[in-house]
Symmetry: C2
Subunit: 355 residues, 2 copies
C-alpha cells in the first residue's frame, strides 16, 4: 500500500503528505489543523513569528485538532549589516514607498529576525510533535533537547551533501527540496546556484545516499506527483503551493489568485524581497530590483516588510512576495480536507494505472 | 503493463525508452544500433553532420540492426554574425589556443552549421523511421514531406506553450525537456531562463495540455526515473546521460569518466561552448568564459571547434564540452543492451513496489 511508509509510521499520520511551512501567512493554524485533521501533517510556518505568536498558534492548532502537526523554523545564519547596501536599497525603494503612501524615511528595524532561541523554547515547552527546519542544521544541544521531548525532527536539504550532513546531525527525516519548489531555497553548504537540482535527479540520488526517509518537495501538485515521488524512492511528500490556494490558507487573496492563474513560465528565483533566493511569481518589484546589490537575508527582508504589508492592505500585487513553485498550472481552489481526499484518490489511480 | 504505451505502438519498439540524440559524437551509429537492437529506440545525433555523414551513419545503423531508429536534427534559427563579438571572443580564446599548440590566428569558419536542407533530404531519401528535432518547429512543407514517407516526427518542448505549438504543427509526439536535462536547451518561444522547468512540474502540465504522447526527458537514469515519468503521465522517456557512458557511445573517454564521477552539484548551464545555453559538467573553460559576451549560436560553436578537437586529442578535459544532465550520480558503465535490460527490470521493480 503506497500510503504506508516509514514517514507515516514515524509521524503517526494516515498519509505521507506534509503541508509545507510557508512562513509569512499562508501556513496558518487553520490550514495546519485542517491538513492534520484530514490525515496529512499540517505545518505552522513560524519562521517570522515571535515565541509568543508561535505559542498562540500552537494552542490554536491544538484546539482544532488532536492529531500530530509540525512547526517549521528558520535556522539563523551569520549575516552582514552593510550600511552602504542598506542606504542604497532604501534609496531605490523610496519610489515604492511613495506610491504606497508610506513615509519617505523608512523605520530602521530594531531587529531583523525573531529570536530563534525563543521559538525553540516554545517548541520544547509545548512538546510540539514535529519540528521541521530549513537554512541549516541544528546544534547538538538543540538536537538532544528535541530528542528528549520525543519531537520528530525534519531537516531540509537541496543537495545530497546537505542531506548527508543533516543525517549525521541526527534528524529523523530529510526534505529533498528540488529546483521546482516555491519559497526560499534551503541551501546551506553550497552556493545557491550550484544547488538547484530538479526532483527527478535529486530524489533518487538522495535516497541512495542516506538511511533516513526522504520527503520529496518541489512541483508536486497532484496524485501523479505523489506517485512519482514515491516511485523515485521518497517515503513522503511535502506540498506548499498546492495548499496555498486552499480555503484555510492564510495567503493573501491576490497571492492565491496569482497562483491559480499562473503558468509553468510564471515563477522565477529572486533575492529581491528578503535577500535570500526564493521562487515566486514574477512581478514588478522582482523585475525592477533585479540589478540592485542587496543586503543579506534577513536584513533585506526587514527592509521590505512595510512595503509588503502596505501592498497587501492596498491590494497591490506588484509589491507582494507571491512565493510559488513551478507546478502552478495544476493548482486548485478547495478546502484542505477536500484536497487531501482528492490527492489520495489521484495517487491510487496513478499507482494502479502503472500496473 | 507499463511498457505498452502509445509511444511503443507508434514507434514499433518493445520499450518506451528512447536514447537521446547527443550530437557531436556520443550518439554514434554503434550506440543507436545497440539501443534499437535491445528493444529501445536508438538515435543518431546528427545535428552537426553534413548530409553525407548522415547518410553513412544511417547505412551503418541499418547494417547493424533492422529495427526502428531515429535521427535527431537541429532546426536552424536566425542568428547574427557580430564581427565585434567574434573578434573579442577570439582574442579571449587565444590563450587556450596557445596552451593547445594551435596557431594564434584561428581559421575563420566558412560555414557555421551544416545545411539543414541537405540533412532533411537524406532523412526523406533514406526513409528514416523516426525524425526527432530540437530548437524550433518544422515548416508545413517539411512536415508534409515527412508524413508522405511515414516518418514518425518528434518535437522538443521546454514549456507547455512550446508543446502546444509543436502539436499544432503536426508532430506525432513531443519530448518534455525538463530543467534537469543535459546538453542544449531546446527553448524556442521564450527566453531560455524563463523556460527552465523541472520535470515534476513540466511533465504533468504538458500531458494535460496536449493530446499527443509526451516523452519525458531530464535526469532520468534508472527504473525509478522511468516509473516516475510514466506515473506523471508521460508515455515514454528519453535518456541521454544514462547512455553516454555505455560502451558503444562515441563520447570522449574523459567525458565518460567525468560523468561517472560527477555529483548532483557538478553540472551548470553555459553558453561558453556554442553560444546557446546547454547543461554540462563545470570545467575551466566554462568558468573562465562566464563573463564574455558571446556570439550567437552557431557562430560560437564554430569558433570553439578547433579548441574542443585539440583538447580531445590531447586529453585536456578542461576544454571539452562535457554535456550531462543532473542525474550523473546514477550513471553506470555497461553495454547499451545490458543497460536496457537493467532499466526494464528496475522499472518493473519500482512499479511493483508502489502497489
Amino acid at each position: 500500500m503506497w500510503s504506508e511508509t516509514e514517514v507515516t509510521r514515524k509521524l503517526g499520520v494516515q498519509y505521507p503528505i506534509i503541508q509545507a511551512g510557508m512562513a509569512g501567512g499562508p501556513a496558518s493554524p487553520e490550514l495546519a489543523a485542517a491538513v492534520s485533521e484530514a490525515g496529512g501533517l499540517g505545518t505552522l510556518g513560524a519562521g517570522y513569528w515571535t515565541g509568543e505568536q508561535l505559542r498562540d498558534a500552537v494552542r490554536t492548532v491544538r484546539r482544532l485538532t488532536d492529531r500530530p502537526f509540525a512547526v517549521n523554523l528558520f535556522v539563523p545564519e551569520p549575516y552582514e549589516v552593510s550600511e552602504e547596501r542598506i542606504s542604497r536599497v532604501q534609496e531605490r525603494m523610496r519610489r515604492y514607498r511613495k506610491e504606497l503612501g508610506l513615509s519617505s524615511e523608512p523605520q530602521f528595524p530594531k531587529q531583523f529576525a525573531p529570536a530563534f532561541e525563543e521559538q525553540m523554547e516554545v517548541v520544547l515547552e509545548e512538546r510540539v510533535p514535529v519540528l521541521s527546519f530549513t537554512f541549516g542544521k541544528l546544534g547538538a544541544e538543540w538536537m538532544q533537547a528535541l530528542k528528549g521531548r520525543d519531537v520528530v525532527v525534519i531537516g531540509t536539504a537541496t543537495t545530497v551533501r546537505e542531506a548527508v550532513t543533516l543525517e549525521e546531525s541526527g534528524v529523523d527525516m530529510v526534505v529533498a527540496q528540488a529546483f521546482e519548489a516555491g519559497g526560499h531555497r534551503g541551501t546551506f553548504l553550497s552556493r545557491f546556484d550550484e544547488a538547484l537540482i530538479g526532483g527527478m535527479a535529486l530524489i533518487p540520488a538522495m535516497v541512495d545516499a542516506v538511511r533516513i526517509p526522504v520527503i520529496a518537495a518541489g512541483g508536486i501538485m497532484d496524485g501523479r506527483g505523489i506517485s512519482a515521488a514515491l516511485t523515485l524512492g521518497a517515503q513522503g511528500v511535502q506540498l506548499g503551493t498546492a495548499f496555498l490556494t486552499c480555503r484555510e490558507s492564510g495567503a493573501h487573496p491576490l497571492h492565491q489568485q496569482a497562483v491559480l492563474s499562473a503558468t509553468d513560465e510564471s515563477t522565477t528565483l529572486t533575492r529581491a524581497f528578503s535577500g535570500k533566493p526564493a521562487r515566486g511569481i514574477r512581478n514588478r518589484f522582482i523585475e525592477e530590483m533585479a540589478d540592485v546589490e542587496l543586503p543579506d537575508y534577513p536584513v533585506q527582508n526587514a527592509l521590505t516588510r512595510e512595503i509588503r504589508q502596505a501592498a497587501g492592505k492596498q491590494g497591490r500585487s506588484e509589491f507582494l512576495s507571491m512565493w510559488a513553485g513551478q507546478g502552478t498550472r495544476l493548482s486548485r481552489e478547495m478546502t484542505a480536507e477536500a484536497l487531501i481526499q482528492v490527492l489520495v484518490k489521484e495517487t491510487e489511480k496513478a499507482v494502479s494505472r502503472l500496473t
